[in-house]
Amino acid sequence: MKDDRRYRVMVYDLGRQMGKVEYLDTAEGFLGGSGLAARLFETYGRPGDPYDHPGQPLIFAIGPLTGYFPLMSKVVMGFVSPYNSQYAESHAGGRLALALRFSGYHGLVLTGQAHIPSCFVLGHDSLGLLDVHYLWGMDVFKAGKILRKIHGRGSGNRSIIRIGPAGENGCSFASINVDSYRHFGRLGCGSAMGVKNLKGIIIQGDGSLDLPPGKDYRRLYESIYKQMTETEAMCKYHDLGTPVNVMALNELNALPWRNMQKTSDDGAEQVSGERFAADLLLRKTACSGCPVGCIHVGLLREQFAEQHEFVYRQVSYDHEPIFSAGTMLDITNAKDVLTLLERMDNVGLDVMSAGVSLAWATEALDKGIISEKETLVPLEFGSVEGYCHAIDHLCRQTNEFYQTLARGTKAAANAYGGKDFACVLGQEMAGYATGEVFYVSQAYGFRHSHLDTAGYSYDQKAGDKSIDTTISFLLKEEAARVMLTCMVSCLFARGVYNQERIEEALTVIGRRDMAEALPQSVTEVQKARWRLKYATGYDPTQIDIPTRLKETVNWKGPLDENFMLELARRYIVAIEGMVP
């Protein structure tokens, strides 16, 4: 296949089972990834309609550098969030990015609703929908195994993504499993897929592309590859992985424990990256096109009968899952953390939101705001068994309480009380009690993600409390990250892929036009994303930072509420400045 300068996008109507190939002129300046997803949502999205309107699109977008360079390995998913009804992005790796690239597409748009539970299949010369009604209700791992069997073509290096019962049942924080160990995790993308009667998607990745002539591309590839593998640049991610943060944050009194009732605990060592590596790390694996291999897979060995009868499971772990299924629930045993992660993952829940929501439910039960009539099982901090049952109730929405909790912790707190300790920052918080800048950045940021702007890092590094400097950091950091999510790079590579490197990379693959317009294009993409978020209902006045987080005391001392509120006010003004 020739690498067309135009972007090739498959637009498929699941109801009519008809596809068409669309071509987009990249001269429009949307770059790819985040920009391409926003551009496609402008065409196919329905800003006034809810997430479950059959016409709402699911969008998957890669970028100009996908596959060309190491760690250009991510896919941006654009969708209307079941969690907040706004235009949202979720990002994932696995094999999906390269599989889409080698199928000959930069983007995939799925509209309509399949008549029966189905699996969508796309390859360089194939397209269609498989009837998989018999997989409905099945967990993500069983479903993955069967999908591999029923569609044998491309076996061994295709990408298979699928949802679990949580996504089928419309849980507002259902996730999508990508190739077993990666996820489109947040903001309920699993239910956006489930409402389309879509259990799985198989991308074949069975084509090849021509490379640009000359030696410049090859030289740059080799230089970047060496930087990724032979320098310290990626060591943190390769060695202990992100769980290295557990001890560091705990020592700073900045690790959320027990629904943020405390920020440090002597039990941290038992769930640290070091402990996982020593006791449970089975192996590491990688997204396609990434020589770093940051995916840490733990071995969970469970005895199911006497006479030493065991099953074993492989569960990926990272800092955020350890926080949400570990410290936030006051669990100080690494194996117990893996047990909960496996349960959450299996039913297709976003582990971050699931853990934080159960932490709130545990405290609400403890305080008598709700009773076991609601939770159906005893929930107790540090106790795994109750949580295992609660995960199942949450995914199946067994009673009114779990139906409400499945709409998010804030929705449950609004209905039952306990808003002051509902640890929600736009969505359930990420694993950093670092203070003012992180709380503001997640609460008001575009994805409500710790990855939007690195506020947690600013909290740890910056000494001053200048509002101007902080706002400037947040906006600059957002732009730097949008540049990467347009390419689409893994954000772990941000130390390698600065603007100069990206411009160089675009130039050697023959996209000098993109390189020259890069800063302006990034600004336009930033604006486009915010425009869509506002058009679909974003209202920063509806966001607040809960009392529990305002009471944070960490290595800096008590949180400065006045600084935080002023920062929030000014950040909103700055964001509104990007929206015409």
Partner: protein, 143 residues
Amino acid sequence: MKILRASRMDRCIGCFSCSLTCARVVHKSLSWSRSGIRIHSAAGLSTGFEAQVCLACTHAPCADACPTGAFSQRRGGGVIVKRDLCIRCGECARACPVNAILMDPELGDPIVCIHCGQCVSFCPHDCLEMVQGHVIKEAIHEG
């Protein structure tokens, strides 16, 4: 002459850097399949990875099966490929006992490892190595 061996595939993380390198350097393509070495998950990603690659036969059945002489025996093991002689009949691929030859679905060309070793330095876990062909032969006899 040296030959490529995927000796330590139990270390493989599935990054495809080897396949991407062969495609980039040998076949001037962006691909994970237009490559002499192709990586597959064994039976889903929880079971590790396998390399589909020429085992460097010293009496190569693919060369025997080739009706035009496009494939000929390489000293030390494997084959020498003369692409301009190939008529894309696929006899080589059918003759290979380990399915190491891919008939490129788009170009129709047979894609097989030429034991150039370009991929070796791009494996981050040292799964691959170049070894002397005759050493392998002796090892087989010893076994």
